[in-house]
């Protein structure tokens, strides 16, 4: 009898959980962003915050899952041939854009041509510049030819370059598509009021009938992180992006709100200009590096919201466990002094470290200043406004500069352009034929193991030559209110609301 009772209770409990776990239809999701997304055309967008809205407004050819593996989206399958120079995509059938335009191989061709059109000036140009031709094989098959093998290509198509806009709308609106976006995503655009809100509504003709349980999504920008969190607490929002480090410990034990934490794709550190004094001397770069205690730096400035770093690959990337990347060096002031003696500067030297305005950059600058001074290295901090910083880095007009990278789901995006000779992001003016060869090799190699070996060889060189001092990997945070269910947190930090639902 007792046993029967237990079984009864168990069945009841299971029934109850399955009821609450089943996705519910309807409701309005309220999302708190950290800035106002200025541009809703993925082929024109430059602000990172735009991508949050794109996830639900547009479909991409492929997407990434929680393990950063490539999964089908608008392309159901693909074949890579000709030694990695040709990608043939089978496209999903029965897909329509929000304006009724059918999605097919012609639409894919149009989208690539739009990104490659120099007079259009798309910021995506660099990402797809290796594409030499797009061929419509049949209405649902498209072949893309590349100038040379490029194994990160699919990862690139999992972001803005892979988002498909309606050809009809793009032809009609031109750059105006930024204000009236038309994609194939599970949500369609309703309205945008600058600095106030962006409203999306469920798209009933979306190809995935399981996507989009929620009726409406309202994005609201809150530039002040305290105000953002306060609005979540007041049940005015259901999810917020980014939260201040001081709030994290409190949120872990919060009875109502849920804190989600994940390794991000981002790294932060310091560019060193190696083509001019003082850092054209490798010994001085090594001396500076040896004075830095990364663990202490992270403890002081970030607590548990970041990890000390020695390379460009945070734990989410498959290249993370390359020793020269993940092994955090101990601070060694004696070694620093020895390097200074070898360089003929036993009494140290001085250099200017450029930092952007803001509390965090200032704190890091000061920590490095005080650590370096123990070996007699004098750091002059110079605060430079962000836009000016970018221009000065382009022109190599600096000695050292604190600036990181938002990160990409493929390791190539975190390393290639920064160290290849004359690369677009090679602000350090670094050039090493061996590294160039290895970087290109990693793009040709196709298996993860082979690529990892190439990156390990690169990291061994970079760990010795130090054109960039990696300092920390920030973690990714989202905070959820009690209603939002089924949210999957992916390291790219993007909020995908395809499978989520709201408890009433």
């Amino acid at each position: 009898m007792k046993r029967a009772l237990w079984i009864f209770i168990l069945i009841g409990a299971l029934a109850a959980t399955s009821v609450t776990a089943a996705p519910q239809r309807g409701g309005t999701l309220r999302v708190g962003l950290n800035a106002d997304p200025p541009n809703l055309d993925p082929h024109q967008s430059t602000a990172a915050v735009d991508r949050q809205v794109f996830q639900n407004l547009y479909d991409k050819l492929v997407d990434i899952n929680q393990n950063l593996e490539i999964v089908p989206m608008l392309a159901t399958s693909w074949q890579i041939a000709d030694g990695g120079r040709t990608y043939t995509f089978k496209l999903r059938q029965g897909v329509v854009f929000h304006d009724g335009t059918p999605f097919n191989a012609e639409a894919v061709k149009f989208n690539f041509e739009r990104m490659l059109d120099k007079s259009f000036g798309s910021p995506r140009f660099n990402e797809v510049s290796l594409v030499t031709g797009v061929t419509v094989v049949d209405p649902y098959t498209v072949r893309i030819a590349l100038e040379k093998p490029y194994s990160p290509f699919l990862a690139v198509l999992s972001d803005r370059a892979g988002m498909m806009v309606s050809p009809a709308a793009a032809q009609k609106l031109g750059k105006g598509l930024a204000r009236e976006p038309v994609g194939t995503g599970p949500y369609k655009f309703v309205e945008k009021r600058p600095q106030e809100r962006i409203v999306l509504e469920r798209f009933d003709k979306h190809w995935d009938k399981n996507a989009g349980n929620i009726d409406r999504i309202i994005y609201r920008p809150f530039t002040d992180e305290n105000a953002r969190l306060a609005n979540l607490r007041a049940d005015e929002l259901d999810i917020i992006d980014q939260v201040g480090p001081t709030e994290i410990p409190k949120l872990r034990t919060d009875p109502v709100l849920r804190l989600l934490e994940r390794s991000g794709l981002e790294y932060q550190g310091m560019y060193i200009m190696v083509a001019g004094p003082p850092f054209n001397n490798k010994l001085l770069r090594q001396a500076l590096d040896a004075t830095i205690d990364r663990r202490t730096l992270v403890n002081v400035v970030f607590g548990e919201t970041a990890l000390p770093a020695n390379g460009p690959f945070p734990p989410a990337l498959f290249t993370y466990d390359i020793p020269a990347n993940s092994r955090i060096p101990e601070r060694n002031v004696d070694l620093a002094r020895q390097r200074l003696r070898e360089a003929g500067m036993p009494n140290g030297f001085s250099f200017t470290l450029k930092i952007t305005p803001g509390r965090v950059a200032q704190q890091i600058g000061q920590v490095i200043q005080s650590m370096a001074s123990d070996a007699g290295i004098k750091v002059n901090l110079e605060v430079v406004e962000f836009g000016a910083m970018l221009s000065q880095l382009d022109a190599h007009k600096f000695e050292a500069a604190l600036l990181g990278w938002s990160g990409r789901p493929d390791p190539d995006g975190n390393i290639y352009g920064f160290f290849v000779t004359d690369g677009g992001l090679n602000n350090s003016a670094y050039s090493n034929p061996k590294v160039d060869t290895l970087l290109d090799a990693a793009r040709i190699l196709t298996t993860r193991d082979q690529r990892k070996r190439a990156y390990a060889d690169i990291m061994t060189v970079l760990d010795d030559e130090l054109p960039y001092l990696y300092l920390y990997w920030p973690k990714q945070y989202k905070v959820l209110g009690p209603k939002l269910q089924g949210f999957v947190h992916i390291s790219d930090g993007m909020m995908r609301f395809r499978s989520t639902w709201l408890n009433p």
């Binding site: 430059t46 600058p194 600095q195 007041a234 962000f386 836009g387 000016a388």
Partner: protein, 297 residues
């Protein structure tokens, strides 16, 4: 009187001209290439030069200025380089928000400041006076962002009496619109009230010491009548002048308050536009604020 108004309006023209020159020069002094900021870290050189050309940044500065002035004179403020919307459309979208916030803040300030100022002067050097002066001092000293966050936690998170943020036009939902304005206008109004209260107190004290007040009292008039009908009329002159100046400040936007309460007014528009080097928008907003300033004075 009408001639006076016409003259005042004509006088605002040179003011606006100088403001436009100053704004244009200042924004060009800010470091950083706007095309670079707009296209971000990964921009290609082709895209950069194409955008510079499109924005007219490849032309000499004075040509850029004259072109802009020519358009503005015809009521065309250009398009935002950030989102491509016409500048005037965005300004007109933000204007009712800013006016509503300015008016409600002024109302809050008057409601607090006038009784407090009168009582403080009337009961000079009593507990009432000290209390009012202390509160006023606190009102001036408390930072806006702190007061704002504290109010959100008290009234929206704990007591659930008021919505924490946002805006809705009064003609769509008047009750909710006013509810949304309560906290921002108290935060803005508090600092303003403190200033007005102190000003009114000292100006009342001065007036209360004059001969005509003594005469009025000697005639046996009631204290309240003396205060309200005789003293206040004169004491309000400097207060109204200062209020006018404050109003033009409010119309220019209250950046911090707008940020905390997510009120989409001119203040946040200004800051966002400066940070993203949205030249046409910054020029439009500042010219607009200058116009508002000149009018209220």
């Amino acid at each position: 009187m009408s001639w006076y108004l016409v003259r005042r309006l004509l006088l605002t023209l040179p003011v606006l001209f100088f403001v436009s020159v100053i704004v244009f020069s200042l924004i060009n002094l800010i470091p950083g290439d706007p095309a670079r900021i707009m296209l971000g870290e990964e921009a290609s050189r082709e895209a950069l030069s194409a955008l510079r050309k499109e924005m007219g940044l490849d032309r000499p500065r004075y040509v850029q200025y004259l072109l802009w002035l020519n358009h503005v004179a015809r009521g065309d403020f250009g398009r935002s380089v950030r989102d491509g919307r016409p500048v005037l459309d965005t300004l007109l979208l933000k204007l009712p928000v800013t006016i509503e916030l300015a008016v409600t803040s002024l109302v809050v300030a008057w409601v607090i400041a006038i009784p407090a100022g009168v009582v403080a002067a009337w009961k000079q050097r009593t507990a009432l006076d000290y209390a009012a002066t202390t509160v006023a001092l606190a009102g001036i000293s408390v930072p806006n962002f702190w007061l704002g966050i504290m109010m959100i936690y008290l009234f929206a998170v704990n007591l659930r009496l008021l919505p924490p943020s946002g805006y809705i036009e009064p003609w769509i939902d008047l009750a909710r619109s006013l509810k949304l304005m309560v906290m921002p206008s108290i935060v803005l109004g508090a600092a303003l009230a403190a200033l007005v209260m102190r000003l009114l107190r000292s100006s009342m004290l001065e007036v209360l010491g004059t001969d005509y007040i003594r005469t009025a009292r000697a005639k046996g008039l009631d204290d309240v009548v003396v205060l309200i009908r005789h003293a206040m009329k004169n004491a309000m002159i400097p207060v109204v002048t200062v209020m006018g100046l404050q109003l033009s400040g409010l119309l220019g936007g209250a950046v911090i308050t707008e940020t905390i309460f997510a009120v989409p007014g001119l203040g946040r528009l200004t800051v966002d536009s400066i940070l993203t080097r949205d030249y046409p928008m910054v020029q439009g907003v500042v010219l607009f604020a200058a116009l508002a300033g000149a009018r209220t004075e």
